[in-house]
């Protein structure tokens, strides 16, 4: 699982995930996301290249989202494919972490 970050205008941290958010990869993502959440108040998680999302992967997204929100910040998810989006929908996670399919909408949500 690849994890890279980019700093965007407006203090937004873009996290780009690439691969499977499964039970094998989730611990590393969890650790990295916690560090990112500690340092940023506006986080956009780019999920365009996430090919799989299981419940362990959900934990790796929810924990940083709650930490950021607890400090008054925001985190959004961008661009999940239809299958990953279905997992987010069925789990109800999208009611906690907004999901956007247009980049501008995702960026606007972090303002």
């Amino acid at each position: 699982m690849g994890i890279t970050t980019e700093e965007l205008a407006g203090g937004i941290t873009k996290v780009i995930l690439d691969g499977r958010l499964d039970i094998e990869n989730s611990p590393a993502v969890d650790t990295r996301m916690k560090a990112i959440a500690d340092g940023g108040n506006s986080v956009l998680v780019d999920m365009q290249n996430v090919s799989f999302l299981g419940s362990m992967g959900l934990r790796a997204l929810v924990a940083p989202a709650l930490a950021i929100r607890g400090r008054g910040g925001k985190m959004v998810l961008f661009g999940p494919n239809d299958l990953v989006a279905r997992v987010l929908r069925v789990s109800g996670i999208e009611t906690m972490i907004p999901v956007h399919h247009e980049m501008q909408n995702a960026l606007d949500a972090l303002q």
Partner: protein, 141 residues
């Protein structure tokens, strides 16, 4: 080569679960399983097998999990998961409420009910057996 049945034997260690995606991918390739169904299979087997390892066997307990695949009809894919762990019915859990109080724990059972066509649990002489059926027709998003 005609594979009437395929099986995967795992030890009761989370690290063994790394074998699942490749095995499922191989089945998908050989049997023409659609991508959406392959995704559902990965999702449900990850949930079911991890529950057996973490909760059925528990920390450090040695055991095995056998996953068998059969395809009786062209668009129905059946997986039977057997273990020798303590009795644990994964279906004996409430569905998430419609108000969707989000809990990250417990999602696995919900995924099984949402993404599988049919589920059946049985107690065996030595452990548990969970049968999960996936339908190519109903796995689309």
């Amino acid at each position: 080569m005609d594979h009437a049945e395929d099986r995967l034997l795992l030890r009761s260690q989370l690290s063994d679960m790394a074998q699942l995606p490749c095995w499922i991918g191989s089945l998908a390739s050989r049997h023409g399983i659609p991508k959406s169904t392959e995704f559902a299979i990965n999702l449900c087997l990850e949930e079911a097998v991890s529950n057996i390892i973490l909760h059925g066997y528990g920390d450090g307990v040695e055991g095995s999990v056998i996953v068998r695949f059969t395809m009786q009809q062209p668009d129905l894919f059946t997986f039977v998961i057997e273990d020798d762990a303590r009795r644990f019915d994964p279906l004996d859990r409430p569905l998430l409420d419609s108000g969707r109080t989000v809990r990250v724990g417990g999602q696995g059972i919900h995924f099984l009910r949402e993404f599988a066509e049919d589920l059946k649990y049985e107690v065996t002489a030595t452990g548990n057996r969970l049968r999960i059926v996936f339908s190519a027709a109903n796995s689309a998003t």
